[in-house]
């Protein structure tokens, strides 16, 4: 399938700021599940660095504006050919040892409720294959957190989300990571795009899910929010230990004032010409 992306992020500042610097993780890397046909990032007036690939295989790019300004707009557009690999991440060049993803952060630190969730989900299946256990955990997380926009915010931790009993894809991913760690499986946060189709439950186009490292399979994506594994409707941008670490945009404003954020994402499947 060929997916087209048009992703605009606009920050407006109440009063002009002295400068802005951002680290962007906004370019899909090549793997068996996706191939970039064309891609561009445009930030008017800003200086862009040469993109580079980090150890996790993500493309990173620094963007900076060193003059007084009252807004910054990042426009990402491109086309990606995607393939359904049943969630399995293959052919992705990366250097980080999977076991490094056994560590938690403040955002994925388990609490008692998450411990109970894991114990219940795996009861009687403690010795099952990783894949089976991972599916059980994803299903349990999906059940424990009905999709509820507005119940949580960008800073909500896994423990807070489980206590709230509701959340969005970010919370699903972070709670699932927390669960996987308890079950002894390396896990990480993935950010990307989702082409919401009619028959799946359409959640945010700017999307997030978790990847768990499974014996024999390697990294496998689990989208607890949509109760599935990522397929050809998904574009993978990058990964990290949690939502902050994997954020597509991490930035800092100098001489900051109140900011407002406006994001629009349009994903669409392009009509394909005859397959060769």
């Amino acid at each position: 399938m060929i997916l087209t992306v048009l992703h605009k992020t606009r920050y407006e500042f109440a009063a002009p700021v002295r400068g802005i610097i951002q680290s962007l993780r906004l370019t899909p890397a090549k793997c068996e599940g996706q191939r970039v046909l064309d891609w561009s990032i445009d930030v008017p007036g800003a200086t862009m660095s040469t993109p580079f690939r980090d150890g996790a295989g993500d493309y990173l790019q620094t963007v900076s504006l060193r003059a007084a300004c009252d807004n910054i707009e990042i426009t990402v557009s491109g086309r990606v050919e995607t393939f359904d690999t049943a969630g399995i991440l293959r052919g992705h060049r990366e250097r980080v040892p999977p076991r490094a993803y056994l560590r938690g952060t403040i955002r994925t630190e388990p609490n008692r409720a998450i411990q109970d969730l894991v114990a219940d989900a795996l009861k009687g299946h403690e010795d099952a294959a990783d894949l089976d256990r991972a599916h059980r955990l994803a299903a349990a997380v999906s059940q424990a957190l009905p999709y509820t926009p507005g119940a949580t915010d960008a800073h909500t931790t896994a423990a807070e989300a489980i206590t709230a009993g509701a959340g969005v894809c970010q919370d699903h991913a972070q709670v699932l990571i927390s669960c996987a760690h308890l079950a002894g499986m390396p896990a990480r946060y993935v950010s990307g795009y989702l082409n919401a189709t009619e028959d799946s439950s359409p959640h945010e186009a700017s999307h997030a899910w978790a990847e768990l490292y499974l014996d024999g399979l390697g990294w496998v994506g689990f989208d607890a929010a949509n109760q599935c594994c990522p397929n050809d409707q998904y574009i993978r941008l990058g990964s990290g230990l949690d939502a902050q670490d994997a954020a597509p945009i991490r930035g800092l404003v100098s001489g900051g004032s109140a900011e407002s954020l406006d994001v629009s994402v349009e994903i669409a499947a392009q009509e394909q010409r005859q397959q060769q």
Binding site: D54, T62, S64, V96, A100, Y101
Partner: protein
């Protein structure tokens, strides 16, 4: 009681060779002259501004570290062996770092447990797969040594991040030479003042490949409220490089720039004296105001070198320490010249059991602690202290390691009544760049309280000038 410790000046047979010249010196120094000299030394230190703020003590931020005028002396033979051992260790530690951020051969070979490395907080995922210039991660390796016999040295710990204290090594010598010039005329004390030049050369040698001119090197300090600020300023000055704070640098495009009165100037090498977590709020702690936003992107795309490399701390963790002799064998194919102190990992149940049974005889340290805080010196502690500590240990065993109480050697030290033996340790500073260098000298820390084994300046320790007698 005193005989159980190795006395570096008087061993069983009498006066040891390296101290021959010093016996007459101190014996012929009248008490009143000594007092004058001591005051003079303090005046010099205060003039130079060498002070050391003690964490959590409040009090005078301009406190001086006590300086003991009685030098500590090594023969060139003793030093040669230490030097070989220190350099060997520094090479092995760097080989380890460059391996664990690459293919992790030592882990694949089963010589170090994977979790000890990869789950370690100091292992930086952000730099996995990145090879810094020349593959060097730790450019200044501080190795803490203790001596227990004429030929017996133990490594207490390694410092691969930003070991401090080298300014004392240099200033102690400076002060001694000003106060007792004749001692240096009569003894062939090897000079240490080449350290700054060697450090600068080391930093120059790891400039990024992209740098096509004389590299611009800067020293990044957390600022003048930091307890080691004096040292930062002192070293920058000796090397003739700018002392910068995070706010003086910014990232634009593929490079890091310094704000100067002539506009932005490109920076090639950053000798940083701030922790990884604070280096870049866009990569690590987002609340850090000490770092440079975007720096890690520039670093990882080869636009600037950071010394020591982010992630170097995984090599000097106290849990990894046990495996350093293994690193020497694995990477260098050599037998370790310097020995480790036998160490019990409290994370391991059987070792924990031993530690709990023998707690009163052991020294117990936090795995990530430093500065002599959070440790228990069993034989020097009362029952209540031991019991409190035992409870902490039981609650979180993997946070602790234990070592036998070492019989630290003593060195004569000026006290009220003349001289008396006091326990000392040794921290040499090994430089790793294109070449591997060690100046013939080190920081000797001395526990000024009678019988004390804690030499940390934050806990009442002092410093001494450390001599290596040059060969004929």
């Amino acid at each position: 009681m005193a005989e159980q410790y190795f006395n570096e000046m008087y061993d069983g047979q009498g006066l040891r060779a390296p101290y021959q010249m010093l016996e007459g010196w101190y014996q012929n120094m009248p008490a009143e002259i000594r007092a004058v000299k001591q005051a003079e030394a303090e005046g010099l230190f205060r003039r130079y501004g060498i002070t050391f703020a003690v964490y959590g003590e409040g009090g005078d931020p301009d406190r001086l570290i006590p300086f003991d005028m009685f030098p500590r002396v090594f023969t060139s033979d003793e030093w040669r062996k230490l030097e070989r051992g220190i350099k060997q260790r520094a090479r092995a530690l760097n080989a380890f770092l460059s391996d664990v951020y690459d293919r992790g051969e030592i882990i694949r070979a089963g010589r170090i447990p994977a979790d000890l490395v990869y789950r370690n907080e100091a292992y930086e995922i952000a730099v996995a797969g990145f090879r810094p210039p020349l593959g060097i991660f730790s450019h200044i390796v501080g190795i803490d040594l203790v001596r227990t016999g004429a030929d017996q040295f133990y490594v207490l710990e390694d410092n691969c991040r930003t070991p401090s204290g080298v300014s004392y090594m240099l200033e102690n010598r400076e002060v001694m030479m000003r106060m007792f010039p004749h001692l240096f005329q009569e003894n062939r004390v090897a000079p240490v003042d080449g350290y700054a030049r060697l450090l600068k050369r080391t930093l120059d040698s790891v400039a990024p490949e992209k740098c096509e001119r004389d590299p611009k090197v800067v020293l990044l300090t957390p600022g003048h409220y930091n307890s080691a600020y004096y040292e930062h300023s002192f070293l920058a000055d000796l090397m003739g490089i700018e002392l910068v704070e995070g706010q003086d640098l910014f990232v634009e495009g593929d490079f890091c720039w310094m704000r100067t009165t002539e506009g932005p100037q490109k920076v090639d090498v950053i000798y940083r004296r701030i922790d990884d977590a604070f280096l870049d709020p866009l990569c690590f702690r987002p609340d850090s105001a000490l770092g440079v936003p975007g720096l890690m992107n520039v670093y990882r795309s080869g636009g600037v070198t950071i010394c020591s490399a982010p992630g170097a701390g995984v090599a000097d963790d106290k849990a990894i320490y046990t495996y350093v002799p293994e690193m020497v064998r694995f990477y260098l194919g050599e037998a370790p010249i310097l020995e480790n102190v036998p160490t019990w990992q409290c994370a391991k149940p059987d070792e924990l059991k031993y530690v709990q049974e023998n707690i009163a005889d052991l020294v117990i340290k936090e795995v990530h602690g430093s500065g002599g805080y959070g440790m228990l010196v069993g034989p020097k502690s009362d029952k209540a202290t031991i019991e409190t500590f035992a409870a902490k240990l039981a609650a979180n065993p993997s946070n602790y390691i234990a070592q036998p109480t070492l019989a630290l050697s003593t060195c004569p030290t000026f006290v009220e009544e003349g001289i008396a033996p006091r326990h000392v340790d040794l921290r040499p500073y090994c430089l790793v760049g294109r070449d591997i260098e060690l100046v013939p000298g080190a920081l000797t820390r001395v526990a000024l309280t009678e019988g004390s084994l804690v030499v940390n300046s934050s806990q009442g320790g002092g410093v001494k000038d450390t001599w290596v007698i040059a060969e004929e």
